[in-house]
Every structure is written in structure tokens, then in C-alpha cells.
Amino acid sequence: MIEVNKDNFDKEVLQSDKRVLVDFNAEWCGPCKMMKPVLEEISTSNNEIKIVSINVDDEDELASKYNVSSIPCLVLIENGEETNRSIGLISRSDLDSFIGGK
């Protein structure tokens, strides 16, 4: 899982060949910390998706560009376009189906 900022966002997210799951999070957000290990695990075990992390405190431009007003906020991006979004803490199985697009 890589950290993304406004300088590499285009390259890492919008121009990615793979689907990207963007995890908007912050150091002070407990539910985000709960989800982190699960996202890390999926990131290493599933090659079909790229998972990146964006710290909303450091990257408020990106957060407001994507209208993030509550975290954890997971945004799926495919060919540069948002295709789905999930807000709040979700279970592993809900996360799997969110990523699987079911």
C-alpha cells in the first residue's frame, strides 16, 4: 500500500492500469486504523487491485476534490473515474464484496 499525495496522484491513481482503491484516512481516525491491516492484507494478496492511502490532513486538496466529508472513505477508481465509494467502518466481508463489485 503506497502513500499518495497531490504530486503523484495523477500517475499512481488516475493513470493506473489497474483498478485503484483509494483509502482516505487520518492519524486521529480510529476506524481508519482498524481497517488499515485489512487493506494491507488485501493489497499484498490481491494483484488485481492497487490500494493507495491518502492522509486527509496533509492532502486537503485531494480530499475536497473528492468531496470527502467523513472517514474512513474508500473510493474505487477505474480509468481515472470514480466507480464506487464506501463510507465508514465496514467488515472484512463487506469490504471484499465492495472491492469485488458485488
Binding site: 486521529w28 480510529g30 476506524p31 486504523k33 482498524m34 486527509v56 467523513s70 465508514g88
Partner: protein, 299 residues
């Protein structure tokens, strides 16, 4: 067959797991979302004995690790039903136990407006300290009249351009000190005797309609609405078997026993006065001890 199945891995459930394992009982904890329960939303706990300052995340993680190290099995699966003969049914599985402890806590109470769920994360929030920072310089409203609503409004008044407090009465239940602090703020406006009756949005929240007791209504333009009208116990899935009071809490005294022998309750979801970490963990200890007694008596 497990000795004890605990439903919910919040502070009450995980404490019960510790006590169960210390008595050498086999323990399965079933959790719908993630361990820790409500407290993971808190940045700083200041009232848990012997832990002066600890984040909710650290508190929950310590408790989880403690239960795991003692040998509790923790499975992420939501319980949808329990039966009289102590079968615990989840979406994917069935488990059997000699005793059950229901420690499912509580969830945010919603206004019940049609598009409320869709707007969560798009302007509607139940946690000012979690989401307030996204509303810097914007106009927001808080609904509610208790301490949480007042504290939320105070917190937001330091960030937002303007804070409206919508309350259905003309007096607050919350502490007078907070009310007075709010009255001194230039950017706080009280809207009394009113309910939020509509959420106005395109893709995001743009405003709310509030209706006064006298029947008149008006629109207030806000980007954020913080709902602080209390919490509701998560007991719906047990209501067929277990006696609840009219507010939905499982009826039980300090001994944590329910109307069904061998089924116990621990934490915020039972009838009690004080809903805090210390009382949740205390319940966990009592419920587990009584479950152990129940099993050892061979009932």
C-alpha cells in the same frame, strides 16, 4: 460446542472473554464489524481508571490482544438469531454453546428521514469530533439537546463559520455550563421547539427544513448536519427470545441475567443508568462469572 459464546467484541464482550478464558472455559466471540465497539471513535479517554490518557483505538487493541492471548477465539460474523437451546446463528454459520452473553452495545440513533442514509459522508454525520474538520469555514447544524449535542456544537463553533443548534424543546437537558459557553459565541444560533423535517440535497447536503411546533417551517442552508439524538441498543435480533423494555434495552439487573437461563447480557445494551467503559467492562466480568457458574452447576 463452546462453553461460552459472546456476541459483540466491544469492551463488554472482550472483558467477558477474558474472564471466561481465565476460568478455562472455551470462548468464541462473534463480531459483526471490527473489534472495539463504539470507543474506537474516541481520540482520548480520560475517565478510565489507571489510564489517564489513552486513545479509543489503543484501548480497544490492548483489550483485543489481551483476550486473544488468553485464548479466546474471535470470528468476524454477524449474529442474526439465537435460540432457546443456545444455538447461535450467523449469516454463514451455526454455533452451539452452553451459555451465551449478548454484548452488542448500541448504534447511532437516526432521524429517520428518507434520504438520511444516502447522505452519510455527504454532509450527514453522527460524530462531530470525527468529521468536523471537513467543515472548516462552512455552515453546519447540530440536532439534539443533550450533552453530546452541546459538546458537538461547541467543538464545531471553533471550526465552522456558523453553527445552528436545532432542538425540539426550548430548554436543554445538557449541562448549563456548556449552554452558557455556547450563548457567548457569535457564530452559534439556537433554533428551539423545532424538528428537522427534510434533508435538502443534490448529491451533497445543501440545507435542512426545520419545522416549528407551531407548524411553521423554514429552510436553513447548511453543508453539514450533525445528528446527536442519542443511541439505540442493538437488540433487534434477539427480541423474539429475550425480554426488552420499551426503549429496546434487554431487561436485566446488575447480575446481567435475562429471562432465559444461561443467556446473559453485558454492556450498553442492557437496562442501566450509566453507560460507560467502566460499567461495560464491569458487566463483562459479572456476566462471564455468572455464565461460568451456570455451566459448572451443570444446568
Amino acid at each position: 460446542m463452546y462453553d461460552i459464546i459472546i456476541i459483540g467484541a466491544g469492551p463488554a464482550g472482550l472483558t467477558a472473554a477474558i474472564y471466561g478464558r481465565r476460568a478455562n472455559k472455551s470462548v468464541l466471540v462473534l463480531e459483526a464489524k471490527s473489534y472495539g465497539g463504539q470507543i474506537i471513535n474516541t481520540l482520548d479517554i480520560e475517565n478510565y481508571p489507571a489510564n489517564n490518557h489513552i486513545s479509543g483505538f489503543d484501548f480497544a487493541t490492548n483489550l483485543y490482544n489481551q483476550a486473544k492471548e488468553l485464548g479466546a477465539e474471535i470470528v468476524f460474523d454477524k449474529v442474526i438469531e439465537i435460540t432457546n437451546n443456545k444455538e447461535v446463528i450467523t449469516a454463514n454459520n451455526k454455533y452451539n454453546a452452553k451459555a451465551i452473553i449478548i454484548a452488542t452495545g448500541s448504534d447511532n440513533r437516526k432521524l429517520g428521514l428518507p434520504n438520511e442514509d444516502e447522505l452519510i459522508g455527504k454532509g450527514v454525520s453522527y460524530c462531530a469530533t470525527c468529521d468536523g474538520a471537513f467543515f472548516k469555514g462552512k455552515d453546519v447544524a447540530v440536532v439534539g439537546g443533550g450533552n453530546t449535542a452541546l459538546e458537538d456544537a461547541l467543538y464545531l463553533s471553533n471550526l465552522a463559520n456558523k453553527v445552528y443548534i436545532i432542538h425540539r424543546r426550548d430548554e436543554f437537558r445538557g449541562e448549563e455550563k456548556s449552554v452558557n459557553l455556547l450563548k457567548e459565541k457569535d457564530n452559534v444560533e439556537f433554533v428551539f421547539n423545532s424538528n428537522v423535517t427534510k434533508l435538502i440535497s443534490d448529491d451533497k447536503l445543501n440545507g435542512i427544513e426545520v419545522t416549528n411546533k407551531d407548524g411553521s417551517s423554514k429552510t436553513i442552508d447548511v453543508n453539514g448536519l450533525f445528528i446527536a439524538i442519542g443511541r439505540i441498543p442493538e437488540n433487534q435480533n434477539f427480541a423474539k427470545l429475550i425480554n426488552l423494555n420499551e426503549a429496546g434495552y434487554i431487561i436485566a439487573g446488575e447480575d446481567c441475567t435475562t429471562n432465559i437461563p444461561g443467556i446473559f447480557v453485558a454492556g450498553d445494551n442492557r437496562t442501566k443508568e450509566v453507560r460507560q467503559l467502566v460499567t461495560a467492562t464491569s458487566d463483562g466480568a459479572i456476566a462471564a462469572t455468572n455464565a461460568i457458574k451456570y455451566i459448572d452447576n451443570g444446568e
